[in-house]
Symmetry: C3
Subunit: 465 residues, 3 copies
């Protein structure tokens, strides 16, 4: 107990937000490490290498249009926009933490995608003939996906951590992600095209656990900065809408060519449309005079996209997608109204962006929907070949059947939750060390400690107000 | 006359903007109805169904890349951005109605696209073997198009209606749209790839007629809120630019594979470029000291895209596109300067966003340009096969000739105008009922009645100012 | 000297910013000229013409998906967003010049792309059988590229010139661009897919030379307006992020089908990611308390994309891309810290947006990286066919070897620098004529002279403050 006690005391020293040495050091050292590791491990794959012209001939590929680039690049760019503009601007809603929202999101995503290419590459794209990771556009998409998990976690601790802590959160987050993804997709053979489990459930619980470890009892000292202003809410809507519009691309980006991508896009489009209506309904119903709350419109409208992530490539049916979206809009909005305050008051989880309602809970729902949809799959609906294609019942999983697949899906969900909570506690412990330059309790939600902010601008809210 | 009198009186009761029951009720009931109707009617088509793998073999389709998804999905996503970010942010220019602009746009678009999938599906995608509507990416694009008509109409009544009224406007708007579209495209066999007639002319007159029915003689009581502030004009430019940039995708999204999509994109790109220069010219010429007016730059620069909507897939020729854009930039800007005030003063049409200048008038021009271009088509320019392909002179229209097609195009335009005006008057009559929670005359253009707005933010303009 | 003297005096007359005659005149006359020239010269190419259906048969093209539209249109749209939203919003950072930034960017891009289609068409797409320029989607991309050079130059003179001057800058800029591009790509046979030399080096030095010619010794009279406000910095981040995200499309838009586009996208993605980390590192290291400066985050994070422009299509290798990005982030940020103030103080170059650090210097680095990478190319890495394909060693360049190609690349870089500086001085001389309506020294960086701006908005900063 003495050790814990002294750890506690160490953590409670006066805060110093100067990151002038630690931030550059982390950036330069890690980027240098990336260059070395990329030099050792990463090469172009056969579709992005100049040998493609020979590869085409050898494999009787009739045209350049068969290059995976043309199947996936448009979706990749949509996903890329979601990562940088979508997540970045969604978090700009705070009245004076917009630089940190969009800027640190930018920083950790740019770092995370490099580390993800390596981590995921070792698990999935390693060419055993020469020990190199061979990358193409699908790897870029997966790297962006991997980063999404960490950006979700950032939402829970928004405004309460230093950029150095975020870099650490990302380094470990990507690592944990790659491992749980390998377990869920390869070992357990669960399907999770849009990442309800792998991305959202993991990322959500990872962030919530970190937030719980970093609980600040005196956070109300920063309450003056915890709201939004009119135009910061509008900036956040840019993030919301780009996430909402491009979510069909997110869920279909790495699904099977042809009907797989097509169906995933349709299902996601429908689920999201449905979510908007129930979000508006619940938001209006639970406010005085029926007024809508921007927090709900900005966030809960996206829950349907999370919740069809797993099942989007299955024969969920258009009405199935609408039902999933319907339920998630209601649950997510109720989460913002009841659960977030409850969790802050009784469970010591301060969830700045309400990621529990937007990612963790809808992610779990998505995992369950995926398990049910998979278990209910049948040859009569999918066709014999379609069933094999969709669930990848090939190789060592040749004898898999839908009901069993449903069980595997559920197992995958459990792994995601465990990795999220376990990893978050571990990383939270590390982030409590008093060396990271995080802000004091009365200095949260403020760009001042980490950004040069002009003090004379009229639209800047001073602490005194 | 007694009935009219009592209807008038009923409409003049004090306003109550509380939508706490009506808005949730409409959202939940209609969304539930959508789920039921989708369950009964909507299924995947052969390109988004798991049977695609068998369909491919049966039809000797050599590769997944031939799936319509890869022809149209990038354009679909561009159109999607236009609908949600383009239209949504274009209307954020008012100093304190930005939440309503982007938020209600979001709500009615999300509802409208579901209803559009059903309505358009019954007319165009019904599989008579099993009575189901089979959907794919082209249906999603058409649903977004259909929604665009209602969003245009929203522009005319922006700030003066309740969200419940907007839901009603959308329900009827989509219904009317689907019927007029069926008449124009299928019965009359007019071509209208970019929807100059079907979308813009219809949507424009629909909105203007509703605005006329909802005329508010004392709207000047809200004049303090009718302007923009510096940053709200910048938010509106986000909408303008995404509309402007992606308009080539809008006009080419559902044209023929190959040269059809290619040519439509080129024509639209050129028309829009030309419009910018003449808009700037007229805006500068008619202001004191030659200063530019943001209203013109935000809106009139888009008129060229509207006006090549019909003819974009024809051999309009690059210079033809420039000419159309040239004229529309001038006319649209003059419309903002002279017509909008005239219509408000003498015709009792209060057109908040000036949709007459951006959609209705350029839409009519587009219809006329389309009729002329079609009538002037010849085998020497199009090639024998090209002529048949472009105008779809097949099946029962095998004996159609270009001059006759020109007449059909003109007939289509008339139908669009009639449906717009007639439908608008009808729906306007319904919207005058005193049950929808619309704001009072001194409470328009204000987010306050329908949104939780922080009152202490420094960038929020209080009524007293 | 007498002539120079009187020219000086003429230039120093009191400023009159009224462009009510000159701006409309330039717009209308030039747009009319475009219509006439397009009428004489520009037609659809075989892929956008209705004869495509016959062309397909004659050339045994099996499917519409082989139309170049499907290879390049998604990238085109991304480039289009970079030109209008990317460049436009990147320059909105000034507290009261946002209308001018995004509005004039819109104007000159819309004009420039038309003139570019003609100029580039005469050099590259002229069909000698009928003397017509045949255009398709690749021409649209190249026109957007050509415009980018002028928008870069606008960055140097932002806030200090009139819209008429910008139109002149663009007319000459496009013309010079087309000539230098022809020399570099066709005569010298340098490769420059992403335009490090052709676009960024040329555009950068063109703008810097013009800025030098238009030096304003008393510009500090406008210093009150030279900073940003909180939300203007956020608007600028919209520009930054769309440039950053879509840069892979920019560098891959016109590269070879298949592996060429694929590899260029990967290289650019990686270089940009690396740049973000070193930019953050240097920005933090050189500021008091390690605070980040928004100017660096908005600009230097993009330098890596510029610097891999030439080599992105080569076998630069993933780690090579990271190294290029690493160096550019550091150099560009140091440029903002040391070089920009130095150039203003000692070299009379007032570079509003710091284009030297974002475009000129990284462009030169890109040219050098391209030369080295080309010179180091070998059959063992590229494959025999790959080498020929990548460097286009065909026709009259059949006997070219990589080392020689390296020399040609270097020669291309020199041509770009010469055209930029020489052209800039020439055009700067023309722009000093006192007929263009440019603002006085105490009236710069202000939308007031050229835009109707509401004076009562609370978020508008008055000069007196």
């Amino acid at each position: 107990m003495g050790a814990v006690q002294s750890f506690r005391e160490m953590c409670d020293r006066p805060k110093n937000t100067n990151v002038r040495l630690s931030l550059p050091a982390v950036c330069i050292v890690w980027q240098t490490a990336m260059i070395i590791l990329f030099g050792v491990f990463i090469r172009y794959n056969e579709e992005s290498d100049t040998h493609w012209v020979e590869y085409k001939k050898e494999n009787n590929i009739p045209s350049d249009i068969e290059n995976d680039f043309y199947f996936r690049y448009p979706s990749f760019q949509d996903v890329h926009v979601m990562i940088f503009v979508g997540f970045g601007f969604l978090m700009t809603f705070l009245k004076r933490y917009s630089f940190g929202a969009v800027g640190f999101n930018f920083l950790i995503a740019a770092f995370g995608l490099q580390w993800a290419l390596l981590m995921q590459g070792w698990f999935h794209s390693l060419d055993y003939t020469d020990g190199k990771i061979k990358i193409g556009v699908e790897n870029l998409i997966n790297a962006d996906f991997c980063v999404a998990g960490c950006l979700i976690a950032y939402g829970a601790v928004l405004g309460k951590v230093s950029p150095v802590q975020l870099m650490v959160l990302t380094l470990f987050g990507i690592t944990l992600f790659a491992v749980e993804e390998y377990i869920i997709l390869d070992l357990i053979h669960a399907r999770d095209a849009g990442g309800s489990m792998v991305i959202h459930t993991f990322g959500g619980y990872y962030g919530l656990s970190i937030s719980w470890m970093l609980y600040r009892p005196n956070l109300d000292q920063s309450s003056r900065l915890q709201g939004s202003v009119y135009h910061s809410d509008l900036f956040a809507m840019i993030g919301t809408l780009f996430l909402w519009m491009f979510w069909p691309s997110f869920n279909s980006a790495i699904t099977d060519h042809g009907d797989g991508q097509h169906r995933a896009a349709i299902n996601t489009y429908l689920a999201l449309a449905s979510t908007v209506l129930t979000t508006v309904a619940v938001s209006s119903l639970f406010q005085k005079h029926g007024k809508l709350d921007m927090v709900h419109i900005q966030n809960s409208t996206l829950a349907g996209g999370v919740a069809v992530g797993t099942a989007a490539e299955f024969m969920l049916m258009p009405y199935g997608s609408l039902i999933v979206g319907f339920c998630c809009g209601i649950l997510s909005t109720l989460g913002y109204i009841y659960l977030t305050p409850f969790m802050e008051k009784y469970m010591k989880i301060q969830d700045t962006c309400g990621i529990h309602n937007l990612h963790a809970m809808p992610g779990v729902i998505g995992g369950i929907v995926g398990a049910i949809t998979a278990a209910a799959a049948s040859e009569s609906v999918y066709g014999a070949e379609g069933l094999i294609n969709t669930f990848d019942f090939e190789g060592e999983f040749k004898n898999m059947v839908p009901t069993k697949q449903g069980g595997h899906q559920a197992a995958g969900l459990c792994v995601a939750i465990c990795f999220g909570i376990g990893g978050g506690i571990l990383v939270g412990f590390i982030l409590r060390l008093p060396i990271w330059g995080d802000p004091a309790d009365d200095n949260c939600f403020d760009d001042e400690p980490y950004w040069e902010v002009s003090h004379r601008s009229s639209d800047y809210i001073h602490p005194a107000e």
